[in-house]
């Protein structure tokens, strides 16, 4: 893991962002029912539409628009929202911070639940615990977020009144209330993630338990406890770093629905609103920021993995 390796990894990240920016721009450029129309709604008149289109630069060739857009983004300027007339960048980043709070909480909860369950299932392979864990896992990966969210809200909030159904309170303003409001969305996201991570954790643990070095450790006469905790767990946990990083991709997609349902003003909902109102700068900025978040997370995960795993470190 040399400096060159770092540099290469960073280059890849930059390449990712560039490819995504082009892709997002290309897709949004050919959106039908152009932005000016949707901006003006029922009150559009031809002359007003024309004026607005010129102002938004919608008439220029695509590559010119892309160049202008990319240049502005490079300087940190994501443009002005067509919908709210506010600068898109700060809005999206603020939204992202709220989404990240949700995402990070969900990942922590997931790890706390999924890792022990996965390991236990692997250690009790084929027994009742394992079957139970597998059933939960199947259920988790087979329920779409909107179903889980609805059912959880129906039970935990409307029927049993344990948690607030929706809404967002910044934990910075009121910590307790903020956490209470995060509980349901975090639970929903976690349920799906737990299913996934648990399955991975189980199969990783099984693989590690089958490995030669675990056999060697056992035959060295180490107690089972030491074998599992010192030798197996560590190696089984390492790939989870990468799995979690890849799940961030799912997570970022999933929060679109979660935030919509739970009224969390995060980047997912910002994107959903932007897409329904054809707010081009917001769509472009939101999608780019989301993809960049994913790229950065993965780069960091790769680096963390390389740092933690001597196998990679000295390749």
């Amino acid at each position: 893991m040399s400096l060159a390796w770092f540099a290469r990894r960073l280059m890849l990240m930059v390449y990712t962002v560039i490819v995504v920016s082009m892709l997002v721009f290309a897709i949004t450029q050919i959106l039908p029912a152009d932005a000016a129309q949707s901006l003006l709604g029922e009150n559009a008149t031809p002359e007003v539409l024309a004026a607005l289109r010129t102002r938004l630069g919608l008439g220029d060739p695509a590559w010119l628009q892309y160049g202008r857009w990319a240049r502005h983004i490079f300087t940190g300027d994501f443009g002005i929202s067509m919908r709210t007339s506010l600068p898109v960048g700060p809005e999206m980043l603020a939204a992202l911070s709220r989404s990240l709070l949700l995402a990070v909480s969900a990942i922590l909860v997931t790890l706390a639940i999924a890792v022990p369950l996965g390991v236990v299932a692997a250690l009790r392979q084929g027994r009742l615990t394992d079957t139970g864990v597998s059933l939960i896992a199947y259920l988790g990966v087979s329920l779409p977020e909107f179903v889980t969210a609805t059912l959880l809200a129906l039970l935990l909030a409307d029927t049993w009144h344990w948690l607030p159904a929706t809404g967002y309170v910044s934990p910075l303003e009121d910590f307790g209330d903020g956490i209470r409001h995060l509980a349901l969305p975090v639970l929903t996201v976690s349920l799906i993630l737990v299913a996934h991570v648990m399955r991975m954790m189980r199969s990783e643990t099984l693989d590690v338990l089958k490995s030669d070095y675990i056999r060697a450790a056992r035959l060295k006469g180490l107690p089972e406890r030491t074998v599992v905790f010192r030798h197996a767990l560590r190696n089984a946990l390492l790939p989870v770093v990468t799995i979690i990083a890849l799940d961030v991709g799912y997570l970022l997609g999933g929060i679109i629905v979660i935030e919509e349902i739970f009224a969390i003003p995060g980047i997912g909902r910002a994107l959903m609103v932007a897409i329904t109102t054809r707010d081009l700068p917001s769509i472009q900025a939101g999608a780019l920021i989301m993809a960049a978040t994913y790229a950065v997370t993965n780069t960091l995960a790769d680096m963390a993995y390389a740092f933690l795993d001597p196998r990679i470190r000295y390749d």
Partner: protein, 276 residues
């Protein structure tokens, strides 16, 4: 083939999965014939009728029979998810095998670009595409296929790269075989197993993604009885008529579970562990 099927049926998850799939297939094939009511027949007096002898799974806000809508809706949910996965998998597999065969810098460039595209979450990609192409089931299928292709390309490519390094492929190259023979006769048959396993599991994602798009209002459109759309409609009345929400949710979950189970079963059946 039959041997594979027997192996699949012998595993509990394979067995349950196959039985569920058979039920779903029956609903797709004979749903409209078996449904007790026309799926779009409205009944003013039957609005929000609870499950009972008249409507086994209850009725929705238009008094439409939920069971009938589910049975007919299977046709507008599962086959579409299937098609989307198939198209996405085929495209992804072609890119993956091709990339592995070409190797070197071309492979590197293709895969790095695929990685980059995968930085856009699937749902977001699908949303962007659907909003470009226009709402509707057909466009949702295209969007899901496009969203799936990069992932499939990556899975296929890693399997194909493995095969590419096998001596039988090298032997074919050393013999002077042409590229089409090597790709389609030597490599592809040997990467089919991971492709089939991955695709099967992805059908369940497709069912869910399709339902999610419909839920967000950009997939199937009313009055279609697509399951995700049914959930979205029923959500408004979930406190009045929770059965309207639960029935299609359960249908989605069961379908997804079925494909997951069969996918896992196939994984076991196609890679039989050696018995010492």
């Amino acid at each position: 083939m039959t041997e594979l099927f027997i192996r699949l049926m012998r595993k509990p998850q394979g067995f349950v999965g196959i039985v569920l799939l058979a039920l779903i297939a029956a609903a797709c094939l004979f749903g409209p014939a078996l449904a007790p009511y026309a799926p779009e027949k409205i009944d003013f007096l039957g609005r929000f009728r609870a499950p009972g002898w008249q409507n086994w799974l209850g009725a929705d806000q238009f008094g439409r029979d939920i069971l009938s809508r589910l049975m007919v809706g299977a046709r507008s949910t599962v086959p579409l998810a299937f098609i989307a996965t198939f198209v996405g998998s085929a495209a992804g597999a072609t890119i993956g095998v091709g990339s592995a065969y070409l190797g070197g810098r071309t492979d590197e460039a293709i895969m790095r670009t695929i990685d980059a595209v995968m930085a856009i979450p699937g749902l977001l990609m699908a949303l962007l595409l659907v909003s470009t192409l226009g709402n509707g089931a057909g466009n949702a299928v295209i969007a899901i296929a496009v969203a799936f292709a990069p992932g499939m390309a990556r899975v296929t490519r890693s399997a194909a790269l493995n095969v590419r390094n096998q001596d039988y492929v090298k032997a074919a190259i050393a013999r002077g075989e042409g590229a089409p023979w090597i790709i389609f006769r030597e490599m592809l048959p040997n990467v089919m197993a991971p492709i089939v396993i991955e695709s099967t599991i992805r059908v369940s994602f497709a069912v869910m993604l399709f339902a999610t798009l419909s839920f967000l209002g950009v997939g199937a459109q009313p009055p279609a009885s697509e399951w995700g759309l049914m959930v979205a409609d029923a959500r408004q009345y979930m406190h009045q008529a929770p059965w309207g929400l639960i029935a299609p949710s359960a249908a989605i979950a069961l379908t997804a579970i079925a494909f997951n189970l069969v996918g896992d079963g196939l994984r076991d059946a196609l890679n039989p562990k050696d018995e010492r």
